[in-house]
């Protein structure tokens, strides 16, 4: 958008100043666009200006040199292909690469998805099943994202429902309750756990959590069958419950580590003020720490949600990968967009591959929205500048 105006701001003074460098009146015309070099001057008043001399703000006479704004009288003249424009150009290009990549992701996914979507004989958004590559000639390609998108949202929501309260508890424990020395050590450990690859959690879940969760499912169904979520009467195997729990355990260190940073940034003054007014420790947390950190907390939860929505391999290992839309989380089943891609990528043919890419596009859109909301919240409240990564 504003890149061209950068370019013009860059080149215009150089060319016009070239022949008569000692005559600043050559550059009186205001440059177009909101992005002006003068902005940088006001932002960094002490920074020298590596322009040809005499580009002071406003119209000045030839002898009225802006000495305060950094001399530069003895500096070599600005060249079009000197190291400075080159370096500046390189960094600008690198920065823009991010925008290019995001645009390219969207473009390539859309381009590859369109042929498959054309071939789809079912409604892509509502159809539940996934048969993009029929093995018999008389059958049409039919696939839809319905069950997958539903499963993705349900598993992630349940995972956050379990993980967030616990994560906030740990974060508070580390920031305000546990002894300082212990908190530092444990905080370090939590940070390390946040770095453990997700496939490890998937492997662990598949090998060691299936049996306990079967027991839990039986118990939940026996005593809480009146809650629709726990209505499934078996068989219990790899279920949405199992997937959500593994996901919760995986997201836990991430949300904890982010929200601990947020809690720690509460100004001591706010806390002391609350305590001085006679608040108990919990009241202090409730009235000073949590309100102060709220945007940061929302952001960390959203980031956790983003991570959960996109989780692939761990869920491919612990979900039953069937195509059902049901709130019954105990019976074996459950599937997500990402896990389905991992499961079906190996045997997908042309249309199948396009179908998977189309589902990836939906996932991309969902996570993009979630992340933009999260960032929007953070940007509105700039107090939180934590190391949200």
């Amino acid at each position: 958008m504003s890149e061209p105006s950068f370019g013009s701001a860059e080149v215009a003074p150089a060319t016009s100043a070239e022949p008569h460098s000692r005559e600043p009146s050559q550059v009186p015309a205001p440059r177009p666009g909101p992005v002006d070099d003068d902005v940088s001057v006001t932002a960094e008043p002490n920074a020298p200006r590596h322009r040809s001399e005499g580009q002071g703000p406003g119209d000045r006479g030839p002898d009225d040199r802006p000495t305060l704004l950094g001399g530069g009288g003895g500096l070599p003249r600005r060249r079009r292909f000197g190291p400075e424009p080159l370096f500046r150009g390189f960094t600008t290009a690198s920065g823009t690469a991010v925008l290019v990549i995001i645009a390219a992701i969207a473009t390539f996914l859309i381009v590859k998805a369109i042929p498959a979507l054309r071939a789809d004989k079912a409604n892509f958004l509502t159809y539940y099943q996934w048969f993009p590559d029929p093995s018999q000639a008389d059958q049409p390609s039919k696939f839809g994202i319905g069950a997958l998108a539903f499963g993705t949202v349900l598993t992630s929501a349940l995972a956050l429902l379990v993980a967030v309260p616990v994560a906030l508890g740990i974060a508070l424990c580390l920031s305000h309750y546990a002894p300082r020395r212990l908190a530092t050590g444990l905080g370090f450990v939590i940070d390390l756990l946040a770095a453990v690859p997700s496939i490890i959690f998937g492997l662990w879940g598949r090998e060691y959590l299936v049996q306990p969760v079967r027991g839990l499912s039986t118990w939940l169904h026996k005593y809480f069958a009146w809650i629709p979520l726990f209505g499934g009467d078996g068989p219990y195997g790899k279920s949405i419950l199992l997937g959500s729990l593994v996901l919760a355990i995986m997201v836990l260190p991430i949300v904890t580590s982010l929200s601990r940073e947020v809690f720690r940034q509460t100004p001591a003054m706010n806390e002391e003020a609350a305590l001085a007014l006679g608040a108990t420790k919990w009241e202090m947390v409730r009235t000073a720490v949590i309100p102060y950190g709220r945007p940061g907390l929302i952001a960390s939860v959203m980031l956790g949600l983003g991570r959960a929505l996109g989780e692939t391999i761990a869920l491919a290992l612990v979900l039953g990968s069937t195509f059902n839309v049901t709130f019954d989380i105990l019976n074996s089943g459950g599937n997500t967009i990402a896990a389905n891609i991992a499961n079906h990528f190996g045997d997908a043919q042309d249309i199948g591959r396009g179908a998977l890419i189309a589902s990836g596009l939906v996932l991309f859109a969902i996570t993009l929205v979630v992340n933009m909301i999260a960032r929007g919240i953070v940007y509105r409240r700039r107090e939180f500048v934590g190391s949200a990564t």
């Binding site: 099943q129 996934w130 048969f131 590559d133 029929p134 093995s135 018999q136 000639a137 059958q139 299936v210 049996q211 009467d233 078996g234 068989p235 219990y236 195997g237 790899k238 491919a316 039953g320 990968s321 069937t322 059902n324 074996s332 089943g333 499961n343 079906h344 190996g346 045997d347 997908a348 043919q349 042309d350």
Partner: protein
């Protein structure tokens, strides 16, 4: 297959067979796309793909060479049950979700005198597209059409159950889950020491799965392809005494002509090895049933004619 690769690579150091156990669908895709010189597959190419495969071969049609017989086991894990007999219709009802507990009347009828628990049945199927699923559903569609209404396909079409990736995944899930049942290649049931059900055949008896009983079904199969194509047609309702009816044939799909000059010698020598008595014996050790000799000699001569 990996046994063959291993044996062959051990015998001829310097040759690398990059055989990816990705499932039949992926193998056929790679063959059509030209990224593979040959593809092993548990199902013949679908009619829609045959022209594409022929086109990829340029000068000659793509042909199917039967390489080995893979019986499909009905493996189960029910605590306290070590012997189980299931009729084709009962199997169809279980996998279609019409029978949900192990002490259902149909299963009791197949197993007079056996004590069966009330455990819920967890029917496990393949999540990836595979020839095993295709052959298993072909069997169900052929023998129990009233109870199995989902036709046959490489991907699973019946609702419910639990899906697992590849034969490994199915076998592992059966092994670790009480109440589970699934269809899996014999070799995977063997290495995981899973209990296998005796399956009712067209002769009205319950046949145990052995190399012998599976071979009887193959012996009654007919070659339907036009030479040099050797596609077999299996009679799932075979009335041969003692025949185990759920079997599949693993084909190697190759170009009869138009193979690349660099790949051809390797391809021929590898396939000659697999079609030899030695190769068949190696396969038998890995849980497959050898091809009947009548079929094997036809394959060997077809391999010799590849160009």
């Amino acid at each position: 297959m990996s046994q063959w690769t291993k044996a062959y690579q051990t015998a001829c150091t310097g040759a690398t067979i990059n055989y990816q156990g990705t499932g039949s669908g992926a193998g056929q895709t790679a063959f059509i796309a030209g990224t593979a010189d040959f593809a092993g597959s548990d199902s013949p190419l679908p009619a829609t793909d045959q022209p594409k495969a022929d086109a990829r071969c340029k000068s000659g049609p793509a042909i199917h060479l039967p390489m080995v017989v893979g019986p499909i086991a009905i493996a189960y894990n029910v605590s306290g049950v070590t012997s189980l007999q299931l009729k084709d219709a009962t199997i169809a009802k279980i996998f279609a979700g019409k029978i949900t507990t192990w002490n259902a009347a149909d299963i009791k009828a197949d197993n007079p005198g056996a004590t069966l628990p009330a455990t819920k049945i967890l029917a496990i199927h393949r999540s990836d597209s595979s020839g095993t699923t295709d052959n298993f559903t072909k069997f169900l569609a052929a023998t129990a059409a009233t109870d199995w209404t989902h036709g046959h396909d490489k991907s699973w079409k019946a609702p419910g159950g639990q899906a697992e990736n590849k034969s490994d995944g199915v076998a592992a899930a059966i092994k670790s889950t009480d109440g589970a049942i699934g269809y899996v290649e014999w070799s995977f049931a063997q290495v995981n020491s899973l209990n296998m059900a005796k399956v009712g055949n067209g002769a009205g008896e319950f046949a145990e799965l052995t190399g012998d009983s599976a071979g009887k079904t193959i012996a009654s199969a007919k070659v339907t392809g036009t030479a040099p194509d050797l596609t077999l047609s299996i009679d799932y309702k075979t009335t041969a005494a003692g025949a185990y009816p759920i079997v599949l044939v693993t084909y190697e799909i190759v170009c009869s002509k138009g193979n690349s000059g660099t790949a051809l010698p390797l391809l021929k020598s590898f396939l000659t090895y697999t079609a030899s008595a030695d190769g068949q014996a190696a396969a038998a050790k890995a849980g497959y049933a050898p091809l009947p000799d009548s079929v094997r000699t036809q394959v060997a001569s077809a391999v010799g004619n590849l160009a």
